[in-house]
């Protein structure tokens, strides 16, 4: 899922400068699971901002709402009556959610209360680790199920580098060496042959490098008639 973390409180407070009626909008999907922007987190942030407002005499009116998925227009449209009565929307969903709200309500300022970070998963409760590099050309079948693009600090495709020691990456922080993990996984699977051959330079076009990406599922695109019927 998408993993993120709320911005520090003082940063959020600074962003809200000049506004009075605030709507905090959360999401029940990824950010709820990484305990950053779900309903509970919206509640805690709301209380924190109300307490700040009371202490500093700012007179803020803080309202809360959490939608099912903030990246989908159908759900973000439900915010309409609330947005009408607010100066600013503080989104604590991921960057996609914040942008969706802004695009649906172009006349109301939307602030990002969350720093969207990566695509990952919890290895244990409360510990979320980056897993997928979103490179658009998956090679997990060649690396025993471990992403070399994002779990290796140097995105090596023919690793490990000379800094791998005791299964740890040279960058420290107890980061595991992805190539040690790849080696052990392929060994267990009996497929070390896969890393005996050299993998040539990667085509980065399907990744962020190639420009903002767009994927189309033709079977879901509405025909002209369908679009007209909807209106």
């Amino acid at each position: 899922m998408i993993v993120g973390e709320q911005k520090p409180l003082n940063e959020i407070v600074a962003m809200l400068d000049g506004h009075h009626r605030i709507l905090i909008s959360g999401c029940r999907s990824c950010v709820a699971i990484c305990l950053a922007g779900g309903e509970k987190e919206v509640g805690v942030l709301a209380e924190s901002l109300r307490l700040h407002s009371a202490l500093k005499g700012k007179g803020w009116e803080v309202r809360e709402n959490t939608v099912e998925r903030q990246c989908e227009k159908e759900w973000v449209r439900e915010l309409s009556p609330l947005v009408k009565e607010t100066d600013v929307v503080l989104s604590i969903a991921c960057g996609v959610g914040a942008q969706t709200i802004q695009s649906l309500y172009p006349d109301t300022r939307v602030l990002p209360g969350l720093n969207t970070s990566n695509m990952g998963a919890p290895d244990e409760p409360g510990v979320f680790k980056e897993k997928c590099g979103g490179c658009g050309d998956c090679v997990l079948h060649l690396t025993g199920g471990i992403c070399p693009i994002v779990r290796c600090a140097k995105s090596l495709l023919n690793g490990p580098c000379g800094g791998s020691q005791n299964g740890k990456c040279e960058i420290g922080n107890d980061t595991p060496c992805a190539w040690e993990e790849i080696y052990q996984s392929l060994k267990r699977l009996g497929r070390l042959d896969l890393i005996e051959r050299n993998i040539p330079p990667k085509n980065w076009i399907p990744s962020r490098s190639g420009g903002p990406r767009r994927i189309i599922r033709p079977e879901a695109v509405l025909t002209k008639e369908q679009k007209e019927a909807k209106e």
């Binding site: 509640g43 805690v44 209380e47 202490l55």
Partner: protein
Amino acid sequence: MRIIGYVCAHAGYAAADLAGEQRLHYSADVTLIQVPCLGRVDVTHLLRAFREGADAVFVAGCLEGNCHHHYGNFEAKKKVAQGKRILNDLGLGSERLEMFNVASNQAWLFKEVVDEMTARATRLAPNPLGARN
């Protein structure tokens, strides 16, 4: 001065009750809020108490390893830590909020908790929001 205490039925509240029975004097400025287990206490409850004007807030429940509902006290400990961070960010001071573990028969310890929080509330400036109420 106003001190709010979130206490669990099995330990915190029981100890407070016993203190009453044993005629152990503790501050009259304390308002106790009983919960079935400390696990029920959310960060929002802690922050709300300060918004309502509390000068200090404590959370008291079962000894670690002895929670009647297994891990409620550990969960509360983490929430108190989170609450402290927020209070620090807001400039109110993390000392105003604290977590304590008491056994149901430790009335004397309950009194000490109240004394400690009273001392802290006295030492720190009153909550500016206290005047409202």
